[in-house]
Amino acid sequence: MNSPHTPAGHHYSTSSDGGVRHDDGRYTGPDPAEPDRTGGHNLPATMGESRLTPAELQSVTFPRAPLGRRGYDEERVRSFLQYIERELAQIFSERTALADEVARLRERLSGVSSGGVPPEEAHFQAVRILSQAQQTADLYVADAERYTRELAQEARQYREAILSDAKSQAELLLDEAHRRASAVAETAAAAAPPPQHVPSGDPSSLPDDVRRQMEREIAYLRTYSEVYRTHLRSYLESLLRNVDEWERSERDALPTGATEPPRPR
């Protein structure tokens, strides 16, 4: 029970034979007339499960021989000796089994270092395995870098396309704005009668053609600045969108950097 490795069936079979020491008739156990086990004798109470211990042996006592005879009860002594004998046989057989086990394990161990794979070969095996793992890692790294590169290049092209689109769009808008502004100003100058309510006296005192010139300028500038502001806003917005796009793709493509600081040494 103590040792799960005990190989011998003997011990258990014998003892589990149903308390040999009780039933085989040679050892009858405590005298029925003397139910007090501790009084008359102290044979191992271990019966069956556990091993006979030195302490138990020391505490063995035998009942006196029946009236008229000298010494101990012969029957009890004999049966005890038989019990001891069985125990010893048990121990020897277990020891043999263990020795066998040790020998077998030793053999297997020495087979590993001599008969099986020699240490040098084992080293090469480890080197090969590590090499393969490294090559796999290199592949992953290369793939990741290529992917990032392609993504970045695409984003760059995309950005350039957006920018050149925005630029030509802006140029068109500006041209259009110029054209319309001058058209509006022309018509305004040609059609508008001199304003009736002029807050300040000064402009009215200007010669007509100068005043018309100024009004045309003002109308032109107003239209121009409005168109330009619109254009500027859309240009900047497209630029921002572009930057956002770029940042997002970059962020997605890159592994979030390890935050671990470099080892000091």
Binding site: A142, T148, R156, Y235, E250, G257, A258, T259
Partner: protein, 382 residues
């Protein structure tokens, strides 16, 4: 040590390419798992570097006057990775195991002895240089970002302050590592001559797919921390030369040349200097406004902006960068149009193709090759 035997055996091994470096690192990490953490996850670039360095070393193994300075630099450079003396024997053991594995039956005791002697020498020179360097400067400088200015959607100007002075020559660069991409080092030039407050400017352009440049341009903030390696680079001003100066900068290749320009400006009588600053579009001339101001202040400086992919003069509506009118054409063409540079010292920096073509054009124009100093960047800034 038989140099020829080393070369022959390495040539044999090197024919097996990437597998050699793959085996080497796997062997190193199986034996010393704690070293794995010093390297990035992806190792393909690392393996190329290793093979390149080994090839270079073996090629020069019988030319110590060339080999030793190279190894010393290699030893100093490795300090920033946290490499210390105890790592050298581990590397040596794995190197020998790798060579043995790939030499197969050709491997013997003599060869092992040769390689062992060679590696012992190499590591001794590297380590001595590293130790000597350690007396003078730290393995790396911790720096804090104090300014981020995005000049374009893919170009940022950074200002950092190192935790202790970082001495360098204008035109040099340093390896930069950001906390968000540990163990990835990329080279950037200081864009200013050393200042009293020790602050340093970098011009960073986002390289598509570049893990580090993307982070630096897109997500770096004031207060973030960087690590800087020791200054390197030979695109520095020839102080002894009395000649006039020609600076040709493509895109963020401007950075080291701007530093040189500042250095010239500190001279009592600066030489006549032309600065060509080129990009594909007007928008790419990200620092034109400041350069124009400089050119107005400094009478000895002539600034020539150039754009190759846009018609001249059309500045985008919202981006009136400076007053100078950009010339149309690629930098080699524009530089070529502008006359004779025979009496000049030329400094060229930018993308590889631009640098190569400008160099060729200058040589065609009669400029002595010895008077052209140049630097390219591409992979170094991903």
């Amino acid at each position: 040590m038989d140099a020829q035997r080393l070369k022959d055996s390495f040539a044999h091994v090197a024919r097996q390419g990437d597998a050699v470096a793959l085996f080497f690192y796997s062997d190193l990490f199986v034996r010393n798992p704690q070293l794995r953490d010093m390297f990035p996850i992806g190792m393909s670039v690392q393996r190329e570097k290793l093979l390149g360095a080994l090839g270079g070393i073996v090629a020069q193994v019988d030319d110590l006057p060339s080999l030793v300075p190279f190894l010393q630099q290699l030893g100093r450079d490795h300090r920033k990775f946290g490499i210390v003396a105890e790592h050298y024997p581990a590397v040596g053991a794995s190197l020998l195991a790798t060579l043995k594995y790939f030499c197969g039956t050709a491997w013997n005791d003599d060869l092992a002895e040769d390689w062992n002697a060679a590696y012992t020498l190499v590591s001794k020179v590297m380590l001595e240089a590293a130790n000597e360097d350690a007396l003078r400067s730290p393995a790396w400088w911790n720096a804090q970002v104090i300014g981020v200015e995005r000049r374009r959607f893919d170009i940022a100007m950074l200002r950092v302050v190192p935790d202790q002075p970082l001495p360098y020559l204008p035109g040099q660069s340093v390896a930069v590592e950001t906390t968000s991409r540990p163990r990835h080092w990329r080279y950037y030039s200081m864009a200013n001559a050393p200042r009293a407050d020790h602050t340093i400017d970098f011009h960073v352009r986002l390289v598509d797919g570049g893990p580090v440049s993307s982070v630096l341009v897109r997500s770096l903030h004031v207060g973030d921390r960087l690590r800087l390696g020791a200054p390197v680079g030979t695109l520095t001003l020839n102080e002894d030369s009395p000649r006039d100066v020609l600076l040709v900068a493509g895109s963020t290749g401007l950075a080291p040349l701007k530093a040189i320009l500042e250095q010239l400006a500190r001279r009592p009588s600066p030489p006549r200097t032309h600065l060509f600053f080129g990009a594909r579009t007007h928008e790419g001339l990200y620092d034109l406004e400041e350069l124009s101001k400089l050119a107005m202040e400094l009478r000895w400086l002539t600034l020539v902006p150039a754009v190759s992919d846009e018609p001249p003069g059309t500045l985008p509506g919202l981006h009136r960068a400076g007053t100078a009118q950009a010339e149309h054409g690629t930098l080699p063409d524009v530089v070529g149009r502008r006359g004779l540079w025979i009496d000049h010292d030329a400094y060229v920096c930018g993308p590889p193709v631009m640098v190569a073509r400008t160099n060729e054009r200058l040589v065609q124009l009669g400029v002595n090759r010895d008077r052209i100093r140049m630097e390219t960047f591409a992979e170094a800034q991903r």
